[in-house]
């Protein structure tokens, strides 16, 4: 009998300020500041750096004991001044932490004081998101920061033939792919947040204070004028999301979609694009789709009936589960660290459609996942690199996707989305299973 622990053991989630920092990193000329202890910034930087392998500068208001007693005003103002002095950012993304939230700092008031102090001077835009680490997960921080930007920048104006993609927490490679897709459809559109360069850039001749790239100010200013907004993530349906806000306040047409992984979900994405663009799906993508189906056929036997354990952010897990079902894998366990009810709702729907029982764990940690994995004995694990301890212990291969990937090179360049991303995911999955079997076999087969 599995027992429940009060403590979280080996967490399968991160804290909200990290998610906000991802968004800030995806805006051109933006420097993040976390309002809290020095450790929050440094730990989050370290966590990013180990995945993206890029310099990531995140400032801190660096609380001391007196700050905690008298409030964070003077520290935050000093942090803002020093960031302006050192980095000359075009924008500052500010997020709170558990500490500044618990002592009850009124950040908006402090920002007003700051603006008053520098009245008459040109200041960068300061976008502020409340991200108390004791509520939700990093994904709540991410979506809250997206909404802050939208609320800050969106304004009325003539409708533009322009599309916004709120792309959820995906890889830099995924963002580059989406941009290419929009371009190939002839759609004038942009991705927010766009950290495809800032989190995966070129080498430099001299150090850059803020890496190049990101969603531009001009793009952000046109948010309210976009005709369409595609928003990825089943968890955002029916919530006060960025796209819902734009639809309600500015009449931007919202298209809520799952992350396009697998043929079914990618088809839906391309259908929407095709309707919006008023043109057929470019043949390049039809060919990609065709090759993917051909690939499915070539390798279907190696995956059919195999059992998988999937873990990670809920929207990502949902999309991956769609993909697994469509290739004949049984996603026997689907787990996430958050507890919004979305994962259960979506996976149970799928489980009914396909007629396979699935264990769904919300609010899970890796030890919960471990005890389920012991029970169901999956053929592979699918998720981020934090599953490696479990993979090693259970001698079950881990297919690394999502964030973080701390024990391999190239996590930032994994393509998950579209027919092409699915193709590489599928090939990787099949080859991992074949390699595993090959290594276990007493015969050294050199053919499949």
């Amino acid at each position: 009998m599995k027992r429940n622990f009060t403590a979280t053991r080996n967490p399968c989630k991160l804290c909200a300020p990290l998610g906000a920092a991802v968004v800030y990193q995806g805006v051109e000329g933006c420097l993040p500041i976390l309002h809290g202890s020095q450790g929050c910034s440094t730990y989050i930087r370290r966590y990013f750096i180990n995945h993206f392998r890029e310099p990531v500068d995140i400032a801190s208001s660096n609380f001391s004991e007196s700050t905690a007693i008298f409030g964070g005003q003077s520290n935050l103002i000093q942090a803002l001044e020093n960031v302006l002095n050192q980095y000359e950012p075009q924008m500052i993304g500010l997020a709170t932490t558990c500490l500044s939230e618990t002592i009850g700092d009124n950040v908006s008031l402090i920002l007003n004081e700051f603006r008053k102090k520098y009245a008459g001077k040109e200041l960068p835009e300061i976008i502020y998101t409340s991200t108390p680490s004791y509520s939700g997960t990093h994904m709540d921080g991410f979506h809250a920061a997206v909404l802050s930007f939208i609320q800050h920048f969106a304004q009325e104006g003539p409708r533009l033939d322009q599309m916004l993609v709120l792309s959820n927490f995906i890889s830099p490679e995924d963002i580059r792919y989406l941009k290419q897709v929009l371009a190939d459809f002839g759609i004038d559109g942009f991705i927010f947040p766009d950290y495809s360069d800032t989190f995966d850039g070129e080498t430099w001749e001299s150090y850059r204070r803020i890496p190049e790239g990101g969603t531009t100010r001009r793009q952000l200013q046109s948010l309210g004028q976009c005709r369409h907004c595609i928003e990825f993530g089943a968890s955002l349906d029916g919530t006060v999301s960025g796209a819902a806000y734009l639809e309600k306040s500015f009449g931007v047409e919202r298209h809520g979609l799952n992350l396009p992984i697998g043929i079914n979900l990618t088809d839906r994405f391309f259908e929407v694009l095709s309707v919006i663009a008023g043109r057929d799906i470019p043949s390049k993508y039809l060919k990609q789709r065709g090759r993917l189906i051909d690939g499915y056929a070539d390798a279907h036997k190696y995956v059919f009936g195999k059992k998988a354990a999937v873990f990670g952010e809920e929207d990502f897990v949902i999309a991956l589960t769609h993909f697994l079902f469509e290739i004949g894998v049984v996603p026997a366990l689907c787990a996430t660290g958050s507890s919004t009810g979305t994962l259960r709702r979506e996976i149970e729907k799928l489980s009914n459609d396909y007629g396979h029982p699935v264990i769904v764990r919300e609010g899970a940690d890796f030890e919960d996942v471990a005890s389920d994995v012991e029970l169901i004995a999956p053929d592979f694990l699918l998720g981020n690199s934090k599953g490696y301890a479990l993979s090693r212990k259970m001698k079950v291969p881990l297919i690394r996707v999502g964030f973080p990937i701390h024990d391999r090179i190239g996590g930032q360049r994994i393509l998950h989305l579209g027919y092409q991303g699915t193709q590489s995911l599928f090939d990787n999955l099949v080859n991992t299973l074949i390699a595993h079997e090959q290594e276990q076999s007493c015969v050294g087969y050199t053919f499949m």
Binding site: A7, G39, Q78, T203, Y207, A389
Partner: protein
């Protein structure tokens, strides 16, 4: 030009210009992007390698998530330290207090994992919401019959160094509670080595060959029961003085155990360390065995090191590390490879450390306290460094600029201590500095012109 914040001007020096002492041991400047973490980090890294203790982080999830399996501190037995436990405080805990949750969490975990002790790390908000963590620990400790201690490591209550001290406070509570019978008069404790990539094992093996027994290793591959009887040792040998001097002083005061400060990075320092310990025991056999060991070990690695030296001679290095003591050793080790240190800094050095650094360095060397990415990148570029030695956060900065890099951090996989460690170090520096990939770097053509 390097832009240094006005509040930081006296934390940046260039040897040869001005002689005012380095301003240091300060709270980091808000908005500076310090490379330091927080008080909690200091405590967490010091206690982390105690492998048979339960480490429970009392706070919201981030602090536990970001420090899960954070150090390459190896264990020869249990690996409970590699798990990340958190009370995962939520909104309602912040409002109503987290004591009950903590107590239940502790009792369940102790029942499940049978640790020899439990450490409860307090994080930022625990101090604010007013949980009486000491009382909970005391209650649980009495109930389950193992030491259960609060580590007072609220992130904002000082710097990483205060975290070291909070960790030492807890260790000091363990010391003196075990049975010291049967401990040899020729015995030591190894303080301040964390068994990264098995370094504590290498060092322990040197002492074994010298005829000296090791009572406890604090905290590399440490066992709670060994720490409890560590007051039976004749000498404390302290490395990484930043984190462990406080414990060494406490043990001297409470148990009359003398200490000696050493470093095991570089052959010169390793030999010095081993001889210092041998001389302490003033035993001719130990001294003879030590000389023999130093001679053999040196001979074993010297030839290969010299091969690397031939290629590295004249190259320039920048160093940024946590404790200044490590920087001293690195400067010497680099010299052994014919390399010159052009930038050196530390997160937690004190005035005495910086004085010593200044004495060691060549004219023109930039010396930094509690630096940040912009300063580090700018100075190492300005000084034309070929190599950067630092931790995870400095690595991509070096690579972006086409600079070689040597990992001297908690998660490295190759031992850098002792004689073998010097060889590994030379090899790592060589494999990065000599890599042909740098010629593709945009900075490659511009080097020397700066």
């Amino acid at each position: 030009m390097t832009r240094v914040l006005p509040q930081r001007k006296d934390q940046v020096q260039c040897k040869g210009s001005g002689a005012s002492p380095m301003a240091c041991e300060r709270h980091s400047v808000a908005g500076s992007v310090s490379q330091r973490a927080c008080v909690f980090c200091g405590s967490r890294v010091v206690l982390y390698p105690v492998v048979d203790a339960l480490h429970l982080i009392h706070g919201p999830i981030g602090c536990a998530a970001y420090t899960w399996d954070i150090r390459g501190a190896l264990s020869s037995g249990p690996d409970l330290h590699r798990m990340s436990f958190s009370t995962d405080l939520r909104e309602k805990d912040v409002i109503y207090g987290g004591e009950k949750k903590l107590e239940t969490a502790l009792l369940e975990l102790i029942e499940e994992y049978h640790p020899r002790a439990a450490f409860v790390y307090t994080t930022c908000i625990v101090g604010i919401i007013g949980d009486d963590v000491d009382a909970v620990c005391k209650r649980v400790g009495e109930r389950v019959g193992i030491p259960v201690f609060a580590v007072h490591s609220e992130g904002f209550k000082g710097t990483k160094k205060d975290g070291y001290r909070a960790a030492c406070d807890v260790l000091a509570k363990l010391v003196g509670t075990g049975d010291t019978r049967g401990i040899s008069p020729f015995s030591i404790n190894i303080l301040g080595d964390f068994n990264i990539a098995g370094e504590t094992w290498m060092i322990t093996e040197y002492y074994r060959r010298m005829g000296i027994s090791v009572v406890s290793t604090i905290t590399g591959d440490a066992r709670v029961d060994d720490i409890r009887r560590s007051h039976g040792a004749a000498l404390n040998v302290v490395q990484c003085s930043g984190s462990m001097m406080y414990l060494a002083r406490r043990m001297e005061q409470d148990y009359g155990i003398p200490f000696t400060r050493v470093s095991y990075f570089g052959m010169e320092d390793t030999s010095q360390a081993l001889f210092a310990v041998a001389r302490f025991f003033n035993d001719s056999e130990i001294l003879a065995r030590t000389s023999d060991l130093v001679e053999k070990e040196t001979a074993r690695v010297m030839e290969e090191i010299n091969q690397y030296r031939r290629h590295l001679n004249g190259k320039k290095a920048a160093i940024y590390v946590g404790g200044a003591f490590k920087a001293f050793s690195l400067i010497k080790a680099l010299r052994m490879l014919g390399m010159k240190t052009v930038v050196v800094g530390s997160q937690t050095g004190n005035a005495e450390d910086y004085e010593r650094l200044r004495a060691m360095c060549d004219e023109g060397t930039v010396i930094l306290d509690d630096s940040n990415p912009l300063e580090l990148a700018s100075f190492s570029q300005q000084k034309n460094a070929d190599l950067f030695i630092g931790g995870v956060k400095e690595r991509p900065m070096a690579y972006k600029l086409g600079m070689a890099f040597c990992d001297h951090n908690h998660s490295r996989k190759y031992a850098l201590a002792g004689y073998q460690g010097m060889l590994n170090f030379a090899k790592e520096v060589y494999s990065s500095v000599m890599s042909p990939v740098w010629k593709f770097s945009p900075r490659a053509g511009k080097r020397g012109a700066q």
